[in-house]
Amino acid sequence: MSKKENNSNHSNNDFVEEKEYSTLNLGPTHPATHGIFQNILKMDGEIIHEAEPTVGYIHRAFEKLSERRPYNQIRPITDRLNYCSSPINNMGWDMTVEKLIACKVPKRVDYMRVIIMELARIADHLICNSVIGVDTGAMTGFLYIFQWREKIYEIYESICGARLTTNIGRIGGFEKEWSKETWDRINHFVENYPKALKEFANLLERNKIFMDRTINCGPISAEMALSYSFTGPNLRAAGVDYDVRVMNPYSSYQDFIFDVPIGQSGDTYDRFMVRQHEMWNSLEIIRQAIKNMPKDEPIKADVPDFFLPPKEEVYNNMEALIYHFKIIMGEMDVPKGEVYHCVEGGNGELGFYLVSDGGRTPFRLHYRRPCFIYYQAYPEMVKGIMLSDAIITMSSMNVIAGELDA
């Protein structure tokens, strides 16, 4: 940290206060920013006068890559957007393609997707909220609650074999029926997680130090948030009840009863509390999904063009072999057209704008990444606040580098 002395020369007659700002590089890698972000801060002592974010440090050209990949092979790319809740991205992509090919999936698939997406939302919010704790100096909550993220990852693992970059699900459904072990793990999670979350809430929610630290820290008004196209928990914390799950229900979300928590002032504390409540809501949704899960329905839609046939059929049946070959080589028939599909991701409206020219790969695929859009309000939000407050403002906004830079 470099700090220049303020040596303004002034005479008694015309007193002109000349301020000299010092420049501070926060990032590109910095232990407090949880990802690769650079912020060039103009500091007036401890107060931020101006911030200039630089993004793009982990840009991987996803949109260009997607233009060369068959539809089935784009799902692994979406893993790497918001890697704290990759199943939501995977399923968002699958649903986009399903919309394009007008494929109707069974209710059972919808409900299974809802379970996984809500587990992913819990994992996402869990990381964000416990990291707000760490940045305010409360390490305990983070260390304590993190084993529950591990349990969620074990559930992913028992379904698809991967933990972080899941590539879970297929276009039209799931690759296979969930095992008994998976259901046991989910039931165990739903039963035992509330106790841990309650304890985590007790640690922070009404903690005087935490409240003093976060209330009125990095606030944003509803009007400002809307003009900056905020979505997700950050917008709801500012007091706008916009949730894609309610406004444009996808994957049978209209069957579930849950409420949309909103905040008032859009400060760090409100963002924290909105996420806290959403975790309870997600649990409630999972309970409803398990309870009302349709029985005796297949776990995939009837889309042989996209869904790999079972192996024993591939080896014994000509048609299955052809489909298998076509899918692996990426020679699926898709109609011409363009669709926009959005899902409520961990940190906002995650949209896929897909233009197909009928070829084997998308003609153009654009990811609407919520982080990228709302992070541009960051300089405005941290103007005039202390450096340490800027750090927790950033972590409470839940900016994920993978999604930011795509």
């Binding site: 993004v55 949109e63 394009l100 900056y228 196209s229 926009y340 990228f372 795509a406």
Partner: protein, 164 residues
Amino acid sequence: MELLEKVKIAITAKFPEAIEKSELSYDFPVFYIKKEEIHQVLEFLKQDPELNFHFLTDLTGIQSEDEKQLGVIYHLHNMLLNTRIRVKTYFDINKPEIPTATDLWPAANWMERETYDFFGVRFKGHPKLKRILNVDEMDIFPLRKEFPLEDQTRDDKDDKMFGR
């Protein structure tokens, strides 16, 4: 379909020449607007109390299939009525200039920078139009179709079977 007609009538009443084409694409009404009037139309869509498309969901670029035109696509959302529309405008690739939307939505700032970065669309009136995700020294616009994904000068990747 109702929404498509409603918005179409509203725009045509104010700007009789602006709409080149309109269609319903899946669940989205799509409007192709002339480049000259795009800013006025967007402003009208945002400020008209009836339509009230106050939320800019997305802004991105596209290249037309014949590769001679560039396009900019706006996804607008009216959260009160929960209606969404898509507005498109196409222009010549050799003169990629279009008025900025940052004065209407501050959120357009980075999205326009991204579009400039990848397609080379110059947004007139943008406060700071420079590259955002790619390095500043880059001299191509990578999402244009004239730039293939892999470096064509490489000879260590000779994969005739799959047409690389």
